[in-house]
């Protein structure tokens, strides 16, 4: 168990390392000059050269990468003009575009994205796995059909439409909910949940169909197994059979998928974040990609990457916990 975890963590670090190299290489190749953007719309060549120098953009790629690593492990110094700013390790540097410390940018936004992703996950698991369970239980029944249509409508609709619809109905028309605006959990938990409800719902609606289908099909699969027959033969209710025996066998793909979605949501909930005005990592990422703000891009990708890797480790642990035949090696 412990060696297993150690090995996984070492693997995770390797993954993140590769990830940072990929991002560096990729964005090095992208046309466009962050200095020009930072320099403003009417920049002249001299000024541009100064800005480039300031951002160390003239260094070759390996040197820049080296500086990045240096920042990560020993920290970096930056000039604000009037003074020298020391950025402690792990330092992702300063944003090219607004001179903010990247670590700070991330730490402000991570809780938002984490709230969004985790909350949505809970909701979609309830909705998705619940629907899957129900539809496996009531095969061919009216409940199954209604639920199926419902979740399918979710998958078939892009988030920007679902989100806007939700906002229109619940905030504008019915006025049951406020237009979302992020309130930190630490500040006011009730307001936090209240404001996150719609974004969670939007994401959950979209994701749940996936889970419903997968749960249902895995369930039907396990329901055909011989051991299910035993419990049927002992008068165990269909609900208990599905809920206790079949579900367990149906969980591995669901767990795998949850880890996957949760991880990738960290970097790609950009549309949801924009729509609901949530200042999260997704928005930050797209913005920094568009402005070739490499330090920010790398940092966000590393953070989301870490989320993915951690989610996967947790998934594997959970997975071994549900199926004792699987050994962690």
């Amino acid at each position: 168990m412990i060696p297993y975890l150690l090995r996984r963590v070492a693997g995770a670090v390797l993954v993140l390392f590769v990830l940072s190299i990929v991002v560096y290489a990729m964005f090095y190749a992208v046309p466009g000059d962050p200095a020009k953007l930072a320099c403003g719309p009417r920049c002249n060549p001299e000024q541009l050269a100064q800005v480039r120098d300031q951002l160390r953009l003239d260094d070759p790629l390996p040197v820049r990468y080296w500086h990045f690593l240096q920042g990560l492990f020993v920290g970096q110094d930056f000039s604000t003009g009037t003074s020298v700013l020391h950025c402690d390790a792990p330092c992702f540097g300063l944003s090219y575009q607004n001179d903010q410390q990247v670590t700070e940018l991330i730490s402000q936004r991570l809780p938002v994205t984490a709230s969004l992703a985790l909350g949505a996950m809970v909701l979609w698991l309830i909705l998705g796995v619940g629907t899957g369970l129900l539809s496996a239980l009531r095969r061919g029944g009216i409940t199954e059909r209604v639920l199926t249509w419902f979740t399918l409508a979710g998958t078939a609709t892009p988030v920007f439409i679902i989100g806007l619809l939700l906002l229109m109905v619940f905030c504008a028309q019915l006025r049951w909910l406020p237009f979302p605006s992020y309130v930190p959990l630490t500040e006011n938990p009730e307001q936090w949940a209240w404001n996150m409800l719609l974004p969670w719902t939007a994401l959950a609606l979209i994701e749940s169909a996936k889970y419903a289908r997968l749960t249902r099909s895995s369930l039907l699969e396990t329901l055909a197994d011989d051991h299910i027959r035993t419990f049927r033969a002992y008068g165990v209710s269909e609900r208990a059979i599905v809920g206790r025996h079949a579900l367990r066998g149906a969980l591995p793909p669901v767990i795998a998928l949850t880890a996957l979605d949760l991880g990738s949501l960290f970097g790609s909930a950009m549309l949801t974040e924009t729509l609901f005005g949530l200042p999260g990592l997704g928005q930050l990422l797209v913005h920094s990609v568009r402005t070739i703000d490499l330090p920010v891009v790398v940092a966000v990708v590393l953070v989301t990457g870490a989320a993915v890797v951690i989610a996967n480790i947790v998934a594997d642990l959970l997975y071994a916990a549900t199926d004792r035949r699987v050994t962690l090696t």
């Binding site: 090995r7 693997g11 995770a12 390797l14 993954v15 590769v18 990830l19 990929v22 990729m26 964005f27 992208v30 046309p31 466009g32 095969r139 061919g140 199954e144 249509w149 399918l152 409508a153 998958t155 078939a156 609709t157 892009p158 988030v159 920007f160 439409i161 806007l164 229109m168 169909a209 289908r213 997968l214 099909s217 895995s218 039907l220 699969e221 591995p252 793909p253 767990i255 795998a256 998928l257 880890a259 996957l260 990738s264 790609s268 950009m270 549309l271 997704g282 990422l285 797209v286 990609v289 568009r290 891009v297 966000v300 990708v301 989301t304 990457g305 993915v308 996967n312 997975y319 699987v326």
Partner: protein, 370 residues
């Protein structure tokens, strides 16, 4: 069971159909699957026949009709229901007055090609990698899992934005989208397949296959793949709509299909803001998308069932139905109480059975939302 039915089946019995033909027959037996298949065929036809339809209706997907929109009101189509008329069957696009029907037909081409292409590629890579990871040695598993982690961790939207700037402008967009979506999406399939493979490989039938001298490839292909078919098919049926929607999202960010080529995703992304001023403009692509998703889901589900011999044998026979049959059977017994001969009873039961079977085949009870 009447004896005629028996006679025919017995005649057909010596040559049992194998594999694909059986699956095909089982699929055909499900009404929902047939309807979904027909619907999908219609969509494909719509896409293929787009130029023909264009000639037929005399509408071009790119021709502007500035006279059909109310310029002072943001370009909303004049006339009811988004400007439906004899020329424009489904109305026109706000702002430009382009014919919606033809644009939807052309849009189907891009959307279906991108979604299906990306899904196939994604699943192909995913299954191969997933099996290899789940079935391979610890080293292979570790390596592949890490590689897939890297791909999952790369945020697709961000990278597409970067990629589109790097890729030459004349690179065919649909192909680029297929590649990009697949590249960023295979890892999901791989994870699901890996999880399933890990379970499966503990089973005795895999051990038996190994004993039979099957190498890992053979075991993967012969033993694991069939068992993976269900989750993979279900997963693909889910991926497909997400891929259509991914195309829409990419269009929303301006990195999808290039105008003026229509695609459903692009129509949806521009239509979003219009759903109060011109609901038809949103509902059409959204409706088509929904139907496509529905069709693929139903077919996916039917295919999953058809591929499972255990499920297939109870195909179309629901629980309630069996019970009714027994009730009918019992009623028969009550009627004939006392003097009924054994043969009469048997044929009575047989009649109920036949009726049930006939009913069952025409009205599948199990699975499938339709």
């Amino acid at each position: 069971m009447t004896s005629e039915v028996l006679a025919t089946t017995q005649a057909g019995a010596p040559a049992p159909a194998s594999g694909a033909r059986q699956v095909w027959r089982r699929l055909r037996a499900r009404k929902a699957a047939v309807v979904a298949g027909a619907g999908l065929a219609l969509l494909v036809l719509l896409a293929l026949a787009a130029p023909l339809l264009s000639a037929l209706t005399g509408q071009d997907p790119n021709t502007y009709h500035d006279d059909l929109v109310d310029s002072a009101r943001g370009g909303v189509p004049t006339g009811t229901w988004g400007g439906i008329s004899a020329e424009h069957w489904l109305g026109v696009e706000p702002g430009t007055g382009r014919d919606l029907f033809i644009r939807l037909a052309y849009g189907a081409r891009v959307s279906l090609v991108v979604a299906v292409g990306a899904t196939l590629l994604q699943v192909l890579i995913g299954v191969i990698v997933g099996i290899a990871a789940g079935f391979g040695s610890r080293f292979v598993d570790g390596l592949l899992s890490h590689v897939s982690d890297v791909f999952i961790a790369l945020p697709m939207l961000a990278f597409v934005i970067a990629l589109t700037a790097v890729v030459p402008a004349d690179f065919p967009r649909p192909l680029l989208l297929v590649l990009v979506i697949a590249l960023f999406g295979w890892a999901g399939t791989a994870r699901v397949v890996r999880a399933q493979t890990l379970s499966l490989k503990k089973l005795d039938f895999v051990a038996a296959a190994r004993l039979g001298g099957s190498g890992p490839f053979r075991v993967a292909r012969r033993e694991l793949l069939p068992s993976l078919a269900a989750p993979v098919i279900t997963y693909s049926a889910i991926l497909l709509p997400s891929n259509i929607v991914a195309e829409a999202a990419l269009s929303f960010l301006g990195v999808g299909i290039r105008p003026p080529t229509p695609s459903w995703g692009q129509m949806l992304s521009t239509a979003t803001t219009w759903f109060r001023a011109d609901p038809a403009y949103v509902l059409l692509p959204a409706g088509l998308l929904f139907l496509t998703v529905l069709a693929f889901t139903v077919i996916g589900d039917a295919l999953r069932v058809a591929l499972d011999p255990r499920e297939a044998s109870r195909l179309g026979v629901g629980r309630r139905r069996t019970r009714n049959a027994n009730k009918a059977d019992n009623a028969n017994k009550v009627d004939e109480a006392g003097g009924a001969s054994v043969s009469a009873r048997v044929s009575g039961a047989g009649a109920a059975d036949t009726a049930d079977m006939a009913g069952a085949t025409s009205a599948p009870q199990k699975g499938g939302p339709a």
